[in-house]
């Protein structure tokens, strides 16, 4: 590595070398192994693994539910972030701390807890059942778990931006006679949009890859509520089918990388907005 070390501080080789060593053995080498295994299959072999009805159904569910969940998170997250930043009310700090729950709660624990709540004999499930709404062991359950894990990403991305935003623009709009709807949709939302989209992308990435929170409430019914990560585990665990797992893993990895690129682009956009602001 060619160091253009402008700094006079010591430790460049040690710190960078160690960082690269860890990243190499823990991230790069495994990443290369996955790509290698997936490439070895060739396009036809890859399609033979991916093109089955079961795999395609799981991919459709994983991506479809994740897209919908991230959209719901964007709406609910905007509301929660807005209220936490702009209003003062009792227990605000405690509710603010609770937003981090899906970050810190083990996914398996969240999974069985949601299942217990929404199962036909659960607190909420038993009340929803007479209304004809089934959540546990259906796609609605998959969606619910994804909404749960994604929400803090939107809230925590929006909060610092909302905090630093001056209210002078809104006040100017107000003095010009804008209604509160106009102020929200024509002044605030355009300003918040890049940040909101970053939060959306983060929530989406998490929802696509989520395993623990989803599998319990999903019930994993063939063709109906099997998510793609569940199929990967099935292929490894019970069929020792590493090539099939790698083929599916490559699809998930490609979606992660795509989202990362989108987020890097969004961040550039946000910075440009910051200059305008």
């Amino acid at each position: 590595m060619t160091a253009m070390a402008r700094s006079v501080l010591p430790g460049f080789r040690l710190s960078t070398g160690y960082t690269l060593l860890v990243l190499g053995s823990c991230v790069l080498l495994p990443l290369a192994a996955l790509l290698w295994t997936a490439c070895e299959l060739g396009p036809e072999g890859w399609w033979a693994q991916i093109g089955t009805r079961r795999v395609l159904a799981s991919l459709r569910l994983s991506f479809g539910a994740a897209l919908l969940a991230a959209t719901i998170d964007a709406v609910l997250g905007l509301l929660v972030a807005w209220v936490l930043v702009r209003y003062r009310f009792a227990l605000r700090r405690q509710f603010d701390a609770l937003v981090d729950l899906p970050f810190a709660l083990p996914t398996a624990v969240a999974g069985i807890s949601l299942t217990a709540l929404y199962a036909p004999n659960g607190w909420l499930g038993s009340r929803l059942l007479p209304l004809g709404i089934e959540v546990a062991y259906t796609r609605v359950g998959v969606l619910l778990a994804m909404v749960f894990v994604g929400l803090p990403f939107v809230v925590r991305t929006l909060q610092p931006v909302l905090e630093s935003m001056e209210s002078d623009l809104e006040e100017a709009a107000y003095t010009l006679g804008a209604t509160s709807f106009q102020r929200f949709f024509r002044v605030l939302l355009p300003l918040l949009l890049p940040t909101l989209l970053t939060g959306y992308a983060l929530a989406l990435a998490r929802a696509i890859g989520e395993y623990g929170s989803v599998i319990f409430i999903a019930g994993n019914r063939l063709f109906r509520t099997e998510i793609a990560p569940y199929l990967i585990v099935q292929k490894i665990d019970s069929q020792y089918d590493y090539r099939g797992a790698a083929a599916l893993g490559a699809v998930m990895l490609a979606s992660s990388l795509l989202l990362l690129v989108a987020m890097a682009w969004l961040q550039r956009w946000t910075r440009r907005w910051a200059v305008v602001r």
Binding site: M4, R6, S7, L9, P10, G11, F12, L14, S15, T16, Y18, T19, V22, L23, C26, V27, L28, P30, L31, A33, L34, T37, L76, L79, V80, V83, L84, Y87, F95, A97, V99, D100, L101, P102, A104, L105, P106, A108, V109, I112, S113, A116, L117, G122, W123, V147, Y174, S180, A205, G209, G212, P229, I232, V233, A246, G249, M252, S256, L259, L260
Partner: protein, 285 residues
Amino acid sequence: MAAVAAVVSIGQPARTTHVARVVLVLGALVVLGWLMVLPLLAIFAEALQHGLAFYLHAIREPDTLGAVRLTLTVAAIAVPLNMVFGLAAAWSMAYFEFRGKAWLGALIDLPFSISPVVCGMMLILVYGKNGWLGSWLEAHGLQVIFALPGLVLATVLVTLPYVARELIPLMQAQGSDQEEAALTLGASGWQIFFRVTLPRVRWALLQGVLLCNARAMGEFGAVYVVSGHLRGITNTLPLQVDQLSQENFSAAFAVASLLALLTVFTLAIKRLVKWRHGGEWNAND
């Protein structure tokens, strides 16, 4: 400001804004209550529904105690490793300019966006029996997958960015003036690190380590794949919860409540640190 306030009350009846405000706050509280409070309460309610005696019996099962021990062991190895990694990465990223730095930053963040299940599978492809290093490891009598090293490796991979991500923005914002001053006063590299840098970033470091630890002890997907979930041998607490949930839901919740307590404790400490020392860093969480 006073003028604007006057305009507000003249131009629009104060009651409508008040109503809108109450509706918005209630809406947010309903969302948080429904998505966050209810699941958290449900864990403890389910765990204690057969009484305290059953609860204590469930968490004293030999397999559960073994899982507690294994979880603590894995975290005790993985978290310090990630702490050292985070400090090294932050030192390199914050104080030096070099080619490929943006790529290095992206690589550090990468494990956040990869599915834990895919993380575990990638490790099997390298360190498993038929993996790239499989035969070499076997020849040297080392078992990684389905054993403790695999659990540690998977945990390290999944929690890799936590400490680094907390430290890099902070150290970049603080700059290296104080470190350079120490250098001109004749301090060695390690002296600078321990006496200048470390005290400056300690609260952010604590935040990162706390979250890293919570995630390490609760990791499920990646560990599930590499562990083979052998009961009493490679079952960590979350894996034990999973297996118990197929047999005895209440016992599963008793074990889960231990992890939930860890979560509540982590979030409380994190808030406390941020509340008391939040001014010392401006990096958001």
